[in-house]
Symmetry: C2
Subunit: 348 residues, 2 copies
């Protein structure tokens, strides 16, 4: 199930082509882009076969040996209740991609669908590792000098200190194996940096991390950080409950939009301003590329016995392509096996 593949051997990734707000056509285009980037990649395209075949024939890509079509009758809708989807949609494209990972036919899967349903089905089909109570969603966010992993992003609204501790172990392993950080700096998100600050869960998790990780290798616990540190490159992994993580991520998007809209409205006001905007637009585009969340699309459901990548529901072709790349990198670095080993050493 967690059998890895190095960069040279074949990597197989299953795509939930029907998922998210964008059309399956854009998912297919993203898939072809990924096939062109990774010569060792094979894709399992899961969804309405007729629809997919139609889109594929529109695109100038003929190497049928690089992908396999797998038909699925149903699609999990964005508004489906996770518990109902779990019971009623076992023949959906979302369920099938998870099953393909569970049987070992794929090393990883990607879906842009309903997060709650993906999490519920993921737990049911793939199970968590022994020692891990709950999977968590780890997302990469842009920072001054690169990126930081923020987790949990919303799968677990209430977390005990032990959950936060488990997230820290898993996040550090992802940062080390995919982002290549040797001894990842791990922090807890809090509302101040003093020991007395925060709620009980966070304060207890702080002591757990201090006690258990002091003498261990491979993880550098740096204590509490605050909201403004998320984008400052202070830590490689920032751990929090799913409520705080989700609020932080979306608040960040909100401020970025506020600034972008503010710039646009000021620069559109007069002919001179519009001309100035024209002059600086290549530089603004450069900044945008640096902090664009699309480039960081593809969150990891850590703790499951298999690689599941959640793309943003609203992701476009470029965003979904990035999520596929994330899946390939995790598969090539055999992340679940490494997490399993960490969990065994530190938690069991």
């Amino acid at each position: 199930m967690t059998s890895g593949a190095n960069a040279d051997s074949k990597t197989t990734v299953a795509l939930d082509v029907m998922s998210g707000d964008d059309s399956p056509r854009s998912r297919i285009r993203a898939a072809v882009k990924a096939l062109k980037r990774y010569s060792s990649l094979h894709l399992l395209l899961v969804g309405d076969r007729q629809l997919i075949e139609g889109y594929l024939s529109d695109i100038d890509y003929s190497d049928r040996s690089r992908y396999t079509l797998i038909h699925a009758n149903k699609t999990v809708a964005m508004h489906d209740k996770p518990s109902l989807a779990l019971r009623g949609k076992k023949d959906s494209s979302m369920w099938k991609v998870l099953e393909l990972v569970s049987t070992g036919e794929a090393q990883a899967c990607v879906s842009a669908g309903n997060t709650g349903a993906l999490m519920a089905m993921g737990r049911y089909v793939l199970k968590t590792f022994a020692g891990i109570d709950r999977p968590a969603i780890a997302a990469s966010v842009p920072t001054v000098n690169g990126s930081t992993l923020l987790m949990d992003m919303g799968a677990n609204v209430d977390c005990t200190s032990m959950h936060l501790y488990q997230f820290a172990i898993m996040g550090a392993q992802l940062a080390a194996s995919v982002h290549g950080v040797e001894s990842p700096k791990v922090a807890l998100l809090n509302i101040g940096t003093e020991e007395m600050k925060g709620n009980e869960q966070v304060r207890l998790a702080h002591h757990l991390l201090l006690e258990k990780l002091e003498v261990q290798q491979g993880l550098d616990y740096i204590g509490f950080v605050e909201g403004h540190d998320i984008f400052s490159s202070r830590a490689d992994v920032i751990v929090c409950d799913g409520f705080a993580g989700n609020v932080a991520l979306k608040t960040g998007e909100g401020v970025a939009n506020l600034v972008r809209d503010g710039l646009r409205s000021i620069f559109q006001r007069s002919l001179l301003n519009r001309f100035l905007y024209f002059l600086i637009s290549p530089l603004l585009k450069e900044l945008n590329r640096k902090i664009d969340p699309v480039l960081h699309n593809g969150a990891s459901l850590l703790g499951l016995q298999g690689i599941v990548i959640k793309s943003h529901g609203g992701a476009d072709e470029e965003g979904f392509y990035r999520a596929i790349c994330q899946a390939v990198q995790e598969a090539q670095n055999d992340v679940p096996a490494k997490i399993a080993q960490e969990v065994e050493e530190r938690l069991l």
Copy 2:
């Protein structure tokens, strides 16, 4: 204690001149600026008398009838434990400004000091209204079309649904009386907008607000909003626990810094870029003015039987001046009396 003053009669505000990271000199300069703006304002300058007199003599402001010096031996430090400050610093400038509000000698007070200590002393000296379990910190944040009140900002890391409900009532009253919003749109911060989303406290608070406010006037409950809605002008008041509120505010600051630093580094790279920056800098300054948190400095400790304004610890002269203005506006609009009335009607 909550005796109001209309715009024509005298308003007296007590300032904790020793508080925060900036020097007392900058607090005094902010005080003089406020005196020049409000002709009916009288200030009680509380702190080290000799120090204050020295700074006042440096400044070209001679109308001694507009302010009174009140000596205080001690200062609450930013790192003081709230419980220890409460027991050991009854002769501090922070304690004295609260006492001046409690005795009615001032209608409001402002401090840039230690938030935890200010909250603990405020509860002890001023007490909360009957019907209000805990005071909350309400901060104004910039949005696309103006500002939104976000609360709680960190005073209460754990909140029950009833606390959140109480915050909503108080926040709406502040928005109505100071910001002049007729029927404020109030929302709960959550990680999705569907009923099933979020933790139990938030879901229960949602039902409390739906049930109790349906037929009442003066508050328009609009349901759940997400992090990106904070800056979108969707709601006039956004309610959450202090952990989420603090994370949201600081994350917003972090993204704003990321964008500012990103712009600076790109525009400094070459002579041409620096020239372009020179051309657009008036426009960037305009944007900065629009979203600058300094202009929104001055958070309200709502629920106390008196007006207490918390300035950011790092606030400079302009920031502290804005916090004094917030105190004057709340005093002139008699906010505590209005909150007391709301609480009596809706909560008792």
